[in-house]
């Protein structure tokens, strides 16, 4: 006797909602620049644990990565990423590369693979953090690889966005582009506010765990 008649309109709207508003599993946008950067703790490819709280007093750069992503390859093949990593190290900036692809997804690396990649690409980050559950990426609302963040010595997020100003996969564009991260690092170290503090990130969609949606 339970005649539960389903209103047709409810069905239709429901479908509409499902089609247009897929459940974004995480915060609609990441943290705002000028606000404290989200805390994180992660283990690096050598088994060492890194916590943002322990890095107070130092400028920190975060770089999400997926070594098979053409946009990541663009900046590694051109040595742009490695050069900036070395510059950062030279100035006492802690550059953390975050391998945020979920287990089984493109760009997922084991500790060994991460170390091999660092060697083969001649990269020079302070560490490669392993983030197979994409927790660090999620905390920062990262959407692409490479998605770049700069955190100042007080733990405040001062830059988020792209590595540079020309969104393309063409290596030839790098010299023409404004290198936002390099400029941002210099400004932070000089005690100045970052001019372009929030830019358009570009790259491959970050490979979050599939169950997250």
């Amino acid at each position: 006797m339970s005649n539960l008649v389903v209103p047709r309109r409810t069905l239709m709207l429901g479908t509409a909602a499902a089609a247009l508003v897929p459940a974004a599993a995480f915060a609609a946008t990441g943290p705002d620049v000028g606000k404290p950067a989200p805390a994180f703790t992660a283990v690096d490819s050598n088994g060492k644990s890194w916590s943002l709280a322990d890095l107070k007093g130092k400028v920190v750069v975060l770089e999400t990565t997926n070594h098979d992503c053409p946009y990541v390859r663009k900046h590694y093949n051109a040595k742009n990423m490695q050069t900036q990593q070395r510059e950062a190290a030279g100035k006492g900036v802690v550059w953390l590369t975050v391998a945020s692809s979920a287990t089984g997804e493109q760009g997922f690396v084991t500790a060994q693979q991460a170390n091999d990649l660092t060697k083969s690409r001649d990269a020079a980050p302070a560490a490669v953090l392993l983030d197979p559950k994409s927790q660090v990426a999620r905390a920062y609302g990262a959407t692409v690889t490479p998605h770049m963040y700069i955190i100042d010595a007080n733990g405040v997020l001062v830059y988020k966005g792209g590595i540079d100003s020309i969104p393309s996969s063409d290596v030839a564009d790098i010299p023409k582009a404004k290198q936002y991260v390099r400029i941002g690092m210099e400004e932070v170290l000089a005690g100045k506010p970052v001019t372009d503090s929030s830019t358009r990130p570009y790259g491959c969609t970050l490979k979050y765990p599939r169950t997250s949606t």
Binding site: R9, T29, S168
Partner: protein
């Protein structure tokens, strides 16, 4: 990265070679087949024509729109043209929204044609050679940048000649998928929070015909593409509250983008896309009517939800809509009093089983609807006139039974009341089922939050919460049947039992009258005719069947007639379905069911406006079939003292009528984590968020809420 199957490639090549060679250039990459086409075969110097970059994308892969969303890159075309020739920017087709791992992107799947207008130089002769270098990003889970070089050589002449029909058809299709200019002016305002709200001043839209509204911002920066858009449509137009994007610069004087919506027309649902360029309207400061985190909206844990559900179910026994069934149960219990304990216990267990099975069935229905539609609400079945009518019949028949018009012995197969009235275990079971069916229009305190939670949770939690609610509903009777000590408190059986039983018929009749009244709110005055006519037919059938059951030809004739009468009564439901369910409430003015005297009709826009104007706002979400709502109105909202206090405080009183389906109200309820009415919101002037008042209102509560704003004013 597997390649296209070879045979598919073969087919594509075959198609490509079948077309005239002079008007195209094809590039086949791993994931996309791209060709450059022109809508002319011969170019006239100085006369513009169109070319299209047509991409056939590998199934499940996609390319990107001019604003790709949170990741991805738009397709780019770089032209190398003869001196004096000009290529305009790409005219983009309407994008679709897709989501990968929670990240929102705008782009194209299957096929897209990017149109470009080319103006050849006025002074040239000989063939026109167009060269294009295009690059695009194509993604499924992984992203591949691809590129191609295209070449198109077109002869020139004194007059342009159109391309062959096959190609012209492609261009026609491509033009159809380009958004048209918006027929309505658009503007946008910036809230104090910095979030923009887009307003399309489309007067006279019918809210219930418009759906799937989404605004695709034309560029990265001003608007966050990741944020949900909860568009509101009312007679004044479309409001889309947006979220500020990541660009740090001020919002632009013009906010451009593509507005997509679907409209229900007589011939089905039509998708429309409009190019919108919204001027910044400094006078329009949308109030941040973010309902999220409204004071009093509970964030529940599963344990809390289960507890609330149990409590809610328990209290449900006392709610007006369950009263008739409670009464029936009391009658059944009285009948059983004096029987031995095992039977009593069995009866209690059967009743509980009936309640739980019904709740489980409801959970199954809720889950399956949700799997299909993604949205369910409590009491939604009462938004269907058919359901209202069937329930009215049910109340009526049960009433007749209690009055003694027919007896338990008469087996009226197929009619629920027969089962309910049947003694023993089966009867108890179906009483439980009946209790659940009539309980649905009621929300008891605690239940709302638990239900809201249940309907939004994964399947196991939904089932658990609904079952807990059922247990709560069944608990008093179960406890009674299990505890001899309690049973001893029951009066001894006697003549009073028959009297009680007959008396209880009257609440049933009253409930039937109420359901018919609800029905008239849904269908108009004709509903009375159908419902009462149906009831006469049912009564007639019962009368026919009451004659002795000697197996004569006459008996069979009577049975046949009775069956016809019952069928006719149920046939009425077909008549009801043809009616537009929202006719009454969508007509704009006050309808009989819900009293709008002294109240304005709720719309989000009106609420936002009143809140922005700094006025206190009271919102009452109600429905004709919700007794709790009506009782609250009677005892708390519409008393002379409350009316006076509302008036003195200058409160804007808004009433949302959910008697029939209303997407806007359903949306608000959902946002607040509620599954049904009643729901009361109170905005104190200047508050960022509304306060949610309890589900059971009292006059003193309303007066104290209103006096609190009087004090803050001083």
């Amino acid at each position: 990265m597997s390649r296209f199957p070879a045979f598919l490639l073969g087919i594509l090549v075959a198609i490509a070679t079948a077309l005239p060679v002079f008007a195209q250039s094809v590039v086949q990459t791993d994931n996309v087949r791209t060709e450059l086409l022109a809508d002319v075969s011969t170019v006239k110097p100085g006369e513009p024509f169109w070319v299209g970059l047509r991409q056939t994308i590998r199934p499940k892969w996609h390319t990107y729109w001019k604003n790709p969303g949170e990741s991805g890159l738009p397709t780019e075309i770089t032209w190398t043209l003869p001196p004096g020739a000009k290529a305009d920017p790409i005219v983009w087709p309407t994008p679709i929204l897709f989501e990968v791992g929670g990240i929102i992107n705008y782009g194209f799947k299957d096929e897209s044609t990017l149109l470009v207008r080319i103006t050849p130089p006025a002074d040239f002769s000989g063939p026109l050679r167009l060269e294009a270098a295009a690059n695009w990003l194509v993604c499924e889970d992984v992203c591949i940048p691809e590129e191609g070089k295209f070449e198109l050589t077109l002869p020139s002449g004194t007059a342009a000649t159109p391309a062959p029909p096959a190609i012209r058809t492609l261009f026609e299709q491509a033009r159809r998928s380009v958004p048209t200019e918006s027929p309505w002016p658009a503007r946008y305002g910036i809230a104090k929070s910095g979030d923009p709200t887009l307003v399309i001043d489309a007067k006279g839209l019918k809210a219930d015909t418009i759906g799937n509204v989404y605004f695709f911002p034309a560029e990265w920066g001003p608007v966050a593409t990741m944020a949900k858009q909860n568009a509101m449509v009312d007679a004044n137009g479309i409001h889309i509250p947006l979220k500020r994007g990541d660009a740090k610069t001020a919002l632009p004087p013009l906010l451009a983008g593509t507005l997509v919506l679907t409209e229900k027309t007589a011939d089905g649902t039509v998708k429309q896309a409009f190019d919108v360029s919204a001027k910044l309207d400094p006078a329009f400061v949308p109030s941040s009517v973010s309902l999220a985190g409204a004071v009093g909206s509970e964030e529940l844990s599963l344990v809390q939800a289960l507890l609330f559900a149990l409590l809610g179910g328990l209290i449900l026994n006392l709610m007006p809509c369950v009263f008739p069934v409670l009464a029936m149960k009391a009658a059944a219990f009285a009948r059983l009093a004096g029987h031995d304990r095992t039977e009593m216990r069995r009866d209690g267990l059967a009743y509980t089983a009936g309640v739980l099975v019904s709740f489980a069935a409801m959970a199954a229905i809720v889950l399956s609807i949700r799997a299909v539609a993604g949205e369910v609400s409590w009491g939604f079945q009462f938004q269907s006139p058919i359901f209202s009518l069937l329930i009215a019949y049910l109340f009526f028949v049960v009433g007749l039974n209690l009055s003694g018009v027919f007896d338990v012995g008469n087996r009226l197969a197929g009619i629920g009341q027969g089962l309910v009235a049947r003694g023993g275990t089966t009867g108890a079971f179906f009483t439980g089922v009946l209790a659940v069916i009539v309980a649905t229009p009621c929300t008891a305190p605690f239940m709302a939050a638990a239900l809201g939670f249940a309907l939004s949770q994964p399947a196991p939690a939904t089932v658990a919460v609904l079952l807990a609610m059922g247990l709560g509903l069944a608990l008093p009777y179960l406890a009674l049947s299990m505890t001899p000590a309690l049973q001893r408190l029951m009066p001894r059986p006697g003549l009073w039992m028959d009297r009680l039983r007959q008396f209880l018929a009257f609440p049933m009749y009253a409930s039937a009258v109420w359901m018919i009244w609800v029905l008239t709110q849904q269908t108009g005055a004709d509903g009375v005719l159908y419902a009462l006519g149906g009831m006469i037919l049912i009564a007639f059938a019962i009368w026919l069947l009451r004659f002795g059951s000697t197996a004569s030809a006459g008996t069979w004739l009577r049975r046949g007639l009775a069956a016809v009468a019952v069928l006719l009564a149920f046939g009425v439901t077909l008549k009801l379905e043809d009616r537009p369910a929202t006719a009454a409430s969508a007509s704009g003015n006050a309808t009989g069911g819900v009293n709008f005297d002294g109240w304005e009709r709720f719309s989000r826009a009106r609420m936002a406006e009143a809140v922005a104007a700094g006025k206190p706002v009271f919102v009452d979400f109600t429905a004709a079939w919700c007794i709790t709502c009506l009782v609250n109105e009677r005892v708390a909202l519409e008393t002379p003292a409350s009316r006076k206090a509302f008036e003195q405080a200058g409160v804007v009183k808004l009433k949302g009528d959910w008697t029939n389906r209303d997407p806007e109200i359903t949306g608000v309820l959902k946002e607040l984590g509620r599954a049904g009415v009643p729901l009361y919101l109170f905005w104190v002037p200047g508050a960022e968020k509304p306060k949610i008042l309890p589900q059971i209102l009292t006059e003193s509560l309303i007066l104290s809420e209103l006096s609190s704003i009087e004090q803050t004013k001083r």
